[in-house]
Amino acid sequence: MKQIIRDTKAYYCVECGKCSGYCPVARVNPDFLPRVIVEKSISGFNKDVEEDKELLSRQMIVPCVSLPQK
């Protein structure tokens, strides 16, 4: 997880929520919020994210095109 954070530079995240606001999945599934996933990952709640059934069950995650701090 630390490697992913480093590679994606997720530590730059300002938690603005642009990713969730753009995400089509989040509009229909209130339990799926990309911002919260990033927030949890960078603040040390890795386990929550790694064991997130919502995230794992998703066969195809739409590649995010709008994450501003990418």
């Binding site: 300002v14 603005c16 990713c19 969730s20 606001g21 753009y22 995400c23 989040a26 701090q69 990418k70």
Partner: protein, 372 residues
């Protein structure tokens, strides 16, 4: 500006650019290109007869392209000096050799189609760079639909629209039908604090959005302004109180979110703004009649060329670099060349004024022969 223009010790060279600077502090020679404006500055009275007879219609940059200007024009009514200029790329006579109306109607005989660029060498002791900023163009951020949706404006376009002397005489107009908006959304950090565009904070947008939202309420009782902010940066004397007052007395709603997408209803032209309500952790949609994008302020066009001409550095964001941001914010790496205002770093009007005074004092030290 008029006072400055009238001062006996000040010469304003408008429509000109510095193309070379040689020499050393206290004794520079600046080479200036005076671009041909095709109007004799000494004869033109700025009466505007020429513009009224000019047949061309060109988007008016000063009014955010919301109305039209002519090929022969004053950029805006209070422009100094009050002298017309011909836009040589758009003028029918200069491009096609047809028309010539402005020359025919000019009673002062000021129009001169044969004018050429002229060059001027000036001996100066010091140089102050104060080139200011340009606005970030949000067209590339397709998720907000700027340029595609009629009711998505930039803050500058909104500012001109709500100005009593602007293109709509101070009325906010939405498409279609030109009614004023009931729900008005301001979106902060467009192209700023964004690693895909500009990483820095523009520093002025939070406060101008609050001001513009308050203006909307002063114009229309029934309007509901919303401000989508990333972090409301009200840094400055009285700024925090101002944002609080906007909420209490003007009913301005602050929403902590950076919207992900704006969609438009093709028939009614109403906008849906999709955002993650980060306080309540829910994705929501706001139906709005108008969205105003508070775009990033970027260094003025041509700053790279100017940095080469003057032999001064620019930083990674394109601002001119001072030798020390803390102890010498006004000094560029070249002795005798000083920096003031937004060209050096993002800042608001009071800070720019303070830097202007400071740079003038530094330049006076050099001119008076007491440098360092």
């Amino acid at each position: 500006m008029n006072e400055c223009n009238a001062h006996p010790n000040i010469d304003i060279l408008s429509y000109s650019e510095v193309i070379g600077l040689v020499g050393d502090t206290g004794d520079f020679t600046a080479r200036v290109r005076r671009k041909a404006r095709f109007v004799n500055e000494d004869k033109c009275t700025g009466c505007g007869d020429c513009a009224s007879k000019c047949p061309s219609k060109i988007p008016n940059e000063y009014n955010g392209n919301l109305d039209k200007r002519k090929s022969i024009y004053l950029p805006y009514p209070q422009a100094v000096p009050r002298v017309m200029t011909i836009d040589k790329e758009r003028c029918l006579y200069l491009t096609n050799g047809k028309c010539g109306n402005c020359k025919k109607v000019c009673n002062a005989g000021a129009v001169d189609y044969d004018m050429k660029d002229s060059f001027l060498d000036i001996n100066v002791a010091a140089v102050i760079v104060a080139t200011g900023f340009d606005l970030f163009d949000p067209t590339s951020m397709e998720e907000y639909g700027y340029g595609k949706y009629a009711n998505v404006l930039t803050a500058m376009e909104y500012e001109r629209m709500i100005c009593a002397s602007g293109p709509t005489m101070g009325h906010l107009e939405t498409a279609p039908g030109k009614e004023h908006p009931k729900k008005l959304a301001f979106i902060q950090c467009i192209g700023s604090r964004d690693l895909q565009h500009n990483a820095y904070c523009s520093s002025v947008c939070c406060m101008h959005a609050v001001k513009e939202a308050m203006l909307a309420r002063e114009h229309y009782e029934d309007i509901e302004p919303y401000i989508f902010y990333t972090d409301l940066r009200a840094v400055g004397k009285g700024f925090e109180e101002y944002t609080k007052r906007a909420h209490k007395e003007y009913g301005i709603q602050y929403i902590r979110a950076r919207p992900g997408q704006i969609t438009e209803d093709a028939a009614t032209k109403k906008l849906s703004i999709w955002y993650d309500d980060t306080v309540n952790r829910k994705v929501r949609k706001l139906e709005a009649d108008m969205a105003v994008l508070c775009t990033c302020l970027v260094p003025a066009k041509g700053h790279e060329e100017l940095s080469r001409t003057l032999n001064i550095d620019i930083d990674k964001d394109g601002f001119f670099r001072s030798i020390d941001g803390v102890t010498a914010p006004l000094d560029s790496a070249r002795a005798g060349v000083f920096l003031a205002g937004y060209c050096q770093s993002p800042k608001d009007i009071p800070e720019s004024v303070a830097q202007g005074s400071g740079a003038a004092a530094r330049a006076a030290e050099v001119a008076g022969g007491k440098s360092q």
